[in-house]
Each structure stands twice: as structure tokens, then as C-alpha cells.
Symmetry: C2
Subunit: 203 residues, 2 copies
DNA sequence: CCACCGATTGACTGGTCAGTCAACCAACCT
DNA sequence: AGGTTGGTTGACTGACCAGTCAATCGGTGG
């Protein structure tokens, strides 16, 4: 046969990554032993080291996989010339919220262990994280240039506030500080953008 | 003498706490060994355990000391009947920003190791953290009742967004993503409130 | 001068785990 | 069958470090 004669029946590497998501989400990165990942994946201890250089690399891989999707999504929203600046922000907020809806465990790991852990893992990924802020700032900046946003708020500032607000909402869901039903997700998307664009005060 | 005849010349306990702030800020909680704290404090290893039950307790103490000040500040802002809701939010934002200006290392530790590490230490302190969100939500809720804020945004929601935005700014300073001069701090105070209250779109 | 007691010291222990490695196995080729 | 390759196994080791504890110090009162 010409096709895939040597591919193993199941992708063990993927299996390990998926298991890691579950275990990291459940116990946190520091509290999980490599043996936990192997057990959860139904695989021998040593195999984890066959596919990954270290425990850290497993987390790095999970983060990078997902974050690159986010960066792409932001770029795409931005480059849709026919979208209003506000609609672009809505697209970004929507993507992040949907990421959480679709795979809460993965997003929990990424936010808790990387994005908000800038001392340990965040350090390594600071450039990638910063890149997201920058892209959002560009959306704001363009919005200002075309008069859709007021000009007296620094774009970087606005970008940090916007992203910070969204991440805080995810944290609220992750730690069950606020209700996380399907309706809440949709509501959240528009409310964050409304809060940031329209403000809390009545118009 | 009637006064303090038995007090040791210097408060070693305080000395250890202050040293811990520096070391935690520099290396992160997980990466610092108890010996590092003792060395930094110029004190023997065992003395740390004379004053604290465990390494965790040192961090807990640092957090609780500071967080109770924050809670008090929010309560005070809220109970000043003569302040507008917006002015109350300004007071809260101002307190947090000034806390960072006054003791960036301590705030770094609190944010990075506790507030944003809800998986490990944040878990323990979730009730205290939540209490801050609730108090801010109350300010928003009262503002809505008196017509100063629009009524269609859930107060908890607004509170999380507001706090999230501020915390993200602190993170930006902590990890040098945004400039942290004296003018930047003052600017930040008003800009966060402006962004949240007035919104990004022109009025 | 001695007895007492809390503060202070730092060597030591027990347990934990990340990462290594030599052996094993299964598929495929010749 | 014999050989080669690469995935797979799990026991083992070496390092690390939180927390313990017995010894020492220094001040106070009898």
C-alpha cells in the first residue's frame, strides 16, 4: 500500500497532550507529576520523555498550539477591512469566549499556568503574549485614526484594559465566581465590548 | 522602665517578612527556597520556622496584611456618601495604583503569586478576593440605582471588568510591557476610570 | 552566681520526583 | 528465520528541599 503503512494506530503524542490538559486543569501544573500525565494517558512513564524533552515542554506545546490560533484570529479580524473597529473587538472577544466554551480545560490551563503566571511560564512566552496585546492595540489605534474611537486614550492602555477585562471574566468562570451557562457566554461577549466601547455611564 | 523591657532590639519576624517580599518578587514563590529567605533576612534557617508554620504561611501573611488594607480602602470609598459613584471607582483605582507605586515588589508578589494564581494560593484566598469584587460590584449597583450608571450591565460583570483592567495594567508594569514612570501612574488612574465609565467611543 | 526560658542556630532526615536508560516488543524487510 | 528500526516499558538514581530538633546563646530574676 502506498498510504500510511507505518503510522501507529493511535497518535500517542496527541494522547499525552490531551491527558496533560485534563490533569493540569485538575491539579495545576506544579502539583502534577509526570507519572500522573502518563497514567491519565494510559501510557508508560518513559513515553512522555520519548515525545517531549521535559514536563515544561508539554505545557509549552499546549500553550503555543492554542495561542497561535488566537493570534491568527486577531489578525484576521483586523484585516477584514469591512468591519468596524468595534466589530473587530467583538470578533476578538467572541473568539476568546468561544475558545473557553469549546475547551474550558485547555483555556484554564493556558490562563492559569501561562498567561497569568508571568513569573514562571509567562516569562518564556512574554513575546507571544505581547504580540496579542499589540495586535489589539493596532485595532484601537486604527479606530482612533478613523474617528470611531476617542483619541485621548493610549491604544496600548486600551488594549490592556480590554484584554484584562476578558481574562478576568474567564477567571471568573474558571473559579466559579460568576455563572457559566451558555447564555452567559453570549451575554458576556456583547457586554465586555459594550462596557469598553460605550462605557458604564449612560449616553 | 514600664515600657517594652523585653522586646528584642529588632523585629526579626518583620525582617523575615520583608526579606520574603524581596526574594519572592525576584525569583517567584516556587523557585525560592526557605534558605533564600533566611539568607536575605540575615537570619538562621530555623528561625523562619520559629515565626512561621511553613513557607506557605509566610506568603499567606504577606497577602492578608495587604489585602485587608485594600478591602478597607474600598469600604471607605463606598461609605463616603458624598462621593459620586465614579469618584468612588476613581478612589479604588487610585488606591491600587498607589499601592503599586509605593511598594511594587509586594504588589508583584500578591498579584503574581496569589491573585492571579487562583489554582494554588488564590484558592485559599478566594473568599477574600471575592470580597473585593463584591464591594466594587456594590458601588456599581448603587450607581445604577441612582441613575449614574446604565442599568443594563450586570454589576458583578462590571466589577470584574474594572478590576481585571486594573490588574492587567499592574501586570503590564510588573513585566515591563508598558512604561512605569511617575506620570504614567497618575495617567493610569484617570484613564482606567475614563475607559470604563465613558467608554472608548466618542460622546 | 546559678537556674531558667525564649530566641536563635544550622546540621540532618525523609520523602518526593524529574529525568535516564537498558531492556523489550512488534512490524517490516530480505 | 534473522536482522533492523523505532515505539514502548518501568525500575532506578541523583538532586533537591521543606521541615525537624537538639544544641547554644543571652538576658532576667532569684
Amino acid at each position: 500500500m502506498a498510504s500510511t503503512p507505518k503510522a501507529p494506530p493511535i497518535d500517542k503524542r496527541r494522547q499525552i497532550l490531551d491527558a496533560a490538559i485534563r490533569v493540569f486543569a485538575r491539579q495545576g501544573f506544579h502539583a502534577t507529576r509526570v507519572a500522573d500525565i502518563a497514567d491519565e494517558a494510559g501510557v508508560a512513564y518513559g513515553l512522555v520523555y520519548h515525545y517531549f524533552k521535559s514536563k515544561d515542554e508539554v505545557l509549552n506545546e499546549l500553550f503555543s498550539e492554542r495561542w497561535s490560533l488566537l493570534l491568527t484570529a486577531i489578525e484576521e479580524a483586523d484585516s477584514s477591512g469591512d468591519l468596524s473597529p468595534r466589530a473587530k473587538l467583538e470578533a476578538v472577544a467572541g473568539f476568546i469566549v468561544d475558545s473557553y466554551r469549546h475547551d474550558p480545560e485547555l483555556m484554564k490551563v493556558i490562563i492559569v499556568e501561562v498567561t497569568r503566571a508571568a513569573n514562571s511560564f509567562g516569562r518564556t512566552h512574554l513575546p507571544e503574549i505581547r504580540s496579542a496585546y499589540d495586535s489589539i492595540a493596532k485595532i484601537v489605534s486604527d479606530g482612533q485614526a478613523q474617528g470611531a474611537f476617542r483619541g485621548d486614550i493610549d491604544p496600548t492602555f486600551a488594549s490592556m484594559s480590554f484584554y484584562g477585562a476578558i481574562e478576568q471574566l474567564l477567571s471568573g468562570w474558571i473559579f466559579e465566581l460568576i455563572p457559566a451557562g451558555d447564555g452567559d457566554f453570549d451575554e458576556a461577549k456583547s457586554l465586555v465590548v459594550a462596557a469598553i466601547c460605550d462605557g458604564l455611564e449612560p449616553r
